[in-house]
Subunit: 459 residues, 2 copies
């Protein structure tokens, strides 16, 4: 089916979805962008610039934890190259960010045999005393089991050995394990890394404290290590660990949201914003989480500019800072632009990796969804035509809560959590052509929304 | 098709393969073991004893490098439990083994940015001076490229960044990389780990020196690290590393081949030997390489004994020592038993992991192959009926070269090299039911060969 054919055959259904005939007209207009979409796809796929830029950035500056020199050097480099690209209004918008540092850290099995275990402290954790914490281990499989065995937990290191089911379900142990363990008198909390696949490869990520419980150190073991300790406990063996962590929070540090624009030719004050987060955890390279999201957004603007496709409205790329452990970038963006949010037409975030594109999730009124769905058809050659219910991203959450429609970039996530927040989040996992396909998908969505004669409906 | 049906329908073809009518008769007799095979499979699959024994051994003693206390403690434990199982002639047959120790080791990227890289020294490597070796890196993709760029290699650390194609092809760089690099004046040799999949997880393994070149230190980087250094070089960046390794060879140490038997009721002097190697590298748990091979062999005897299936000939389980870095166990077995090798009917080795069984590779005369092929049909319920051309194992190589027919246990090897020689060779990768299936496959092959009225033909 041709793109135009799709709109005609679906028009009766689409009409019932539309709040206004104006929006209906917009849907029909989307098909006019078929040629532009084709040119964008062809151009994006002619080179591997996105992959090479991301490789240069991540190889040169390394992982980019909030507060680190790595992050600020990467931001400065990006701003400089954006200027070279001829983007406009290139700027770092300042915000203060948390500055947690890992320091040296280790977990040693002491009993029943001595051996070091692979581990990563969780982001935000307090450290241990310099001599470490040496204590017996209580392994549990769930919060429920900890509740049932609460009497056994006092003075122990609690290990949550919870197999990965899905990220949302399993990551609760990373977020809340320390509070739950402290509540029953534990002296430290460990988790099995949140991943479906492990090669003795631990995964970090944010954890929380609350105001009612003692702040105890928290770290992730590898799947392998956690499983072994669980087996030892199941055999009735006494398991003793020594945990050492130098982790500590330093005073907040200055950082910046990276911002650059392709200015609109008719309504420069109306903005389609797209981007990802420029910060990462302090392991691996932060290539897919989320250097890739920032770079494909940036490249989308470069491709549009190279094609001379200046839309009616402004397209703004943002590399938000501090998504991982504070969301200060997303909040600062909202605060700084709060008076302009009525003119934020759409916010698009890419923060799920830059594997083969699948489409977008969308959060907004039905009339707008009909238009996004129509644009999705332009992404068919990329296999990225699907528009899922609900979409957004952590960084655009603050402005979405102010009424800005949001789209979340969706890709093949099959292996995303193999790498996420670990030393394996590196360039070699990413494919140059798939990254280029994501550039095209982001560029087409942003361009069409920015160029349609009328604004995307808000209501 | 029933098992008996298979033999009859195939009998015309089989007949042409047989050197003697006696061997033909043996093939027909194999079908008589259908009931025994069924009982063996049912019994082996009723429990997870193999998995639990291997887990206990690997959790308790850890990896088992030749010369280590870990290895000797595991051997002593195994001999003790074999006695408890009621096996006979349980003994450790002594041999001296190489005693290489890793010590502390590290690779730090110095330029273009400072960061530690994941690494494992290669087994047998010399160490560096205490201050390490700091040198520029030359990355090459092949021995051929090193030859072409030989003039650039002097005084540098050569990194062979060779993608995994198959083990045999890629492992040449691990084995011979140091000699090739030293020959062109390099001061150390690094390889990309020999694996198709990496989560920043380096793989060790044996490497060689020769008498004509300087012994330079050799280590493996992760796939991720090697790829990053290669990208840096491709960008024209100067790459400098500091390699520190305390690796050294200590005097040879005593070890033992683990031996136990189920004695034959008619020809106790005739032996079917089966086993794996009890030593491992010094990382992970040595669970699939090759604790699993030893334990499924051992369990095969326990199952047969439990069923009261005492064969005509003796079945001997052997856990050979020092397969990984010397093969002293396999050689010592040959030397000690050299006068008995005419009475070694078949040697079976399991050293490819204990994933879902597929069958056996076989090396021996056609008349014997016809019998092994017939026994394969008894393994159909396990999916292990295939008999591949050529088979054996490193540890049984020395006795196979003296004329003993050899069989190599074949399993689903899809992921074997993900884990092999790395910290990820651990129990969680192994499935209790698949291990039990391997026990059954090993037990059936060994039992039928040991019990057939006539010996497996040698010629």
């Amino acid at each position: 089916m041709t793109i135009r054919g799709y709109f005609h055959s679906g028009s009766a259904l689409v009409a019932t979805m539309l709040a206004t005939t104006s929006a209906h007209a917009q849907v029909e207009r989307v098909a006019d962008y078929g040629d532009a979409a084709t040119r964008i796809i062809q151009t994006a796929l002619t080179d591997s610039n996105a992959w090479h830029r991301l490789a240069y950035m991540t190889d040169t500056f390394g992982p980019r934890l909030s507060g680190s020199d790595n992050l600020e050097r990467a931001i400065t480099w990006m701003l400089s190259v954006m200027e070279d690209d001829g983007l406009v209004n290139v700027r770092g918008e300042p915000t203060m960010v948390p500055h947690w540092v890992r320091g040296r850290e280790s977990v040693d099995l002491i009993l029943p045999r001595e051996t070091p275990l692979a581990m990563l402290g969780l982001g935000g954790s307090v450290g241990t005393p310099p001599e470490g914490i040496t204590a017996e281990v209580l392994v549990v499989s769930s919060f429920q089991e900890l509740t049932e065995r609460a009497a056994e937990a006092r003075g122990k290191i609690v290990l949550f050995d919870v197999p990965f089911t899905n990220y949302g379900a399993t990551v609760r142990y990373r977020g809340n394990g320390a509070v739950a363990a402290a509540r029953v008198g534990a002296v430290a909390a460990l988790i099995r890394s949140v991943t479906p696949v492990s090669l003795n490869s631990p995964h970090t990520g944010a954890m929380n404290y609350d105001s009612t419980t003692t702040r105890i150190p928290a770290a992730a073991l590898s799947v392998e290590g956690a499983a072994m300790l669980h087996r030892m406990q199941d055999r009735g063996q006494r398991v003793v660990l020594r945990l050492r962590m130098e982790a500590r929070a330093l005073p907040d540090a200055p950082s910046r949201n990276v911002v650059a624009e392709l200015q609109g030719r008719e309504h420069p004050e109306e903005v389609v914003v797209l981007g990802g987060h420029i910060d990462s955890w302090d392991v691996g390279q932060g290539a897919m989480d989320d250097g890739g999201g920032v770079v494909v957004s940036w490249e989308a603007l470069r491709v549009l500019k190279g094609l001379g496709l200046q839309p009616r409205r402004t397209i703004r790329v943002v590399g938000w800072t501090n998504e991982e452990n504070g969301l200060r970038g997303g909040n600062a963006y909202r605060d700084r632009h709060v008076t302009e949010l009525d003119n934020h037409i759409l916010a698009i975030e890419s923060d799920g990796g830059v594997f083969a594109p699948r489409g977008f999730g969308f959060t907004g009124p039905d009339a707008a969804r009909a238009i996004i769905t129509a644009i999705g058809q332009l992404l068919q050659p990329l296999g990225a035509e699907r528009v899922f219910a609900g979409g957004g991203g952590a960084d655009i959450g603050p402005i979405m809560r102010e009424g800005v429609p949001g789209a979340g970039h969706q890709v093949d996530g099959t292996k995303y959590f193999w790498y996420h927040h670990s030393h394996a989040d590196t360039m070699d996992k990413l494919d140059p052509r798939e990254m280029a396909m994501n550039v095209a998908a982001m560029a087409i969505l942003a361009y069409v929304v920015a160029d349609l004669p009328e604004r995307l409906p808000r209501k």
